[in-house]
Symmetry: C2
Subunit: 183 residues, 2 copies
């Protein structure tokens, strides 16, 4: 399963693509940040985010898009921008028929580090280890986007099993019936 993780934001929108199946080593396909100038018109910033996300979808063709679920506990202005950037990411994916899944920050932290209260450094360290990278991706938004993608792969065992079965079937359409999962 190939997942594009999106850590939404107007100034920095983290994006990361991970290939993998729960229980197997994961592969980072790409990571980056879509940036828009803070002094630009809000509508123009949303258009720039749309173009950025579209470019990532075009290049990497993910099967799922995992977006951070936004809460309004934090700074009002930031939260509005985050909600708006996340809307653009969801819109781009849904328009193409790519399923969108939302994960809360604590779900992501718990999935990656074992603790829903882990800090940025801990998340960055685990992303680095799980994807076998030389160094933690910078900025933190990029690492968070990869963490979202990993979280989604690990939290979707049913989807993974289905995809595995489909992959086996496609690889050997005329072979014997697929064997049971042995792991």
């Amino acid at each position: 399963m190939r997942v594009l993780g999106v850590d939404p934001g107007l100034t920095r929108c983290g994006v990361g693509v991970v290939d993998g199946i729960a229980g197997r080593p994961l592969t980072m396909v790409g990571v980056g940040v879509v940036r828009t100038p803070p002094d630009a018109d809000l509508g123009d910033r949303l258009v720039a985010i749309e173009q950025g996300i579209e470019a990532w979808l075009d290049e990497h063709r993910p099967e799922r898009v995992a977006v951070e679920r936004v809460f309004s506990q934090h700074n009002v202005r930031t939260v509005m921008g985050t909600a708006q950037a996340s809307a653009v990411a969801m819109l781009c994916a849904s328009r193409r028929g790519i399923p969108v899944v939302l994960h809360t920050p604590s779900e992501v932290k718990a999935a990656i580090t074992g603790s829903g209260r882990a800090d940025k450094d801990q998340v960055g360290a685990m992303v680095t280890r799980l994807l076998r990278l030389a160094a933690p991706p910078k900025p933190a938004d990029a690492a968070d986007a990869l963490a979202l993608a990993i979280c989604h792969i690990w939290r979707s065992p049913a989807q993974n099993r289905l995809q595995e079965a489909v992959a086996r079937h496609r690889a050997a359409p005329s072979a014997q019936p697929p064997k049971g999962r042995t792991a």
Copy 2:
């Protein structure tokens, strides 16, 4: 000046188009509501709102889009949906190069009724009077969208004067220089 007002919402997104210039009688060009089913997938709802807004832009070709500025004082879940719907409306307009303006609910109420604390009925009554309608537009989201468009026309005298001058120039390109505004 033709303005599309958008009262953003996921379940009901009010839209209203008004033609006019400050200080002259206004004309309602169209009013309606873009609806999405509350039980649908969030991404699909955003796609439906995009299609609805695009249809209104295609049909009425507004020169400005006025969107209600969202605050996070209210119910968390509602505010997130409102912010996301407003992002889609802004994106659709900006993508076409149509300037987007944001007005707060109190700015709109003050412009239309004289009081920033006016209730829904008062706004509906004034929209009905100003646009010379037979009855207040229903639901309230539709009336609010028209109120937003009127507010923008009235709050943009500089833009209006410029547009008037351009209109005069286009109507009589070889005539004498435009006269000063006499109102």
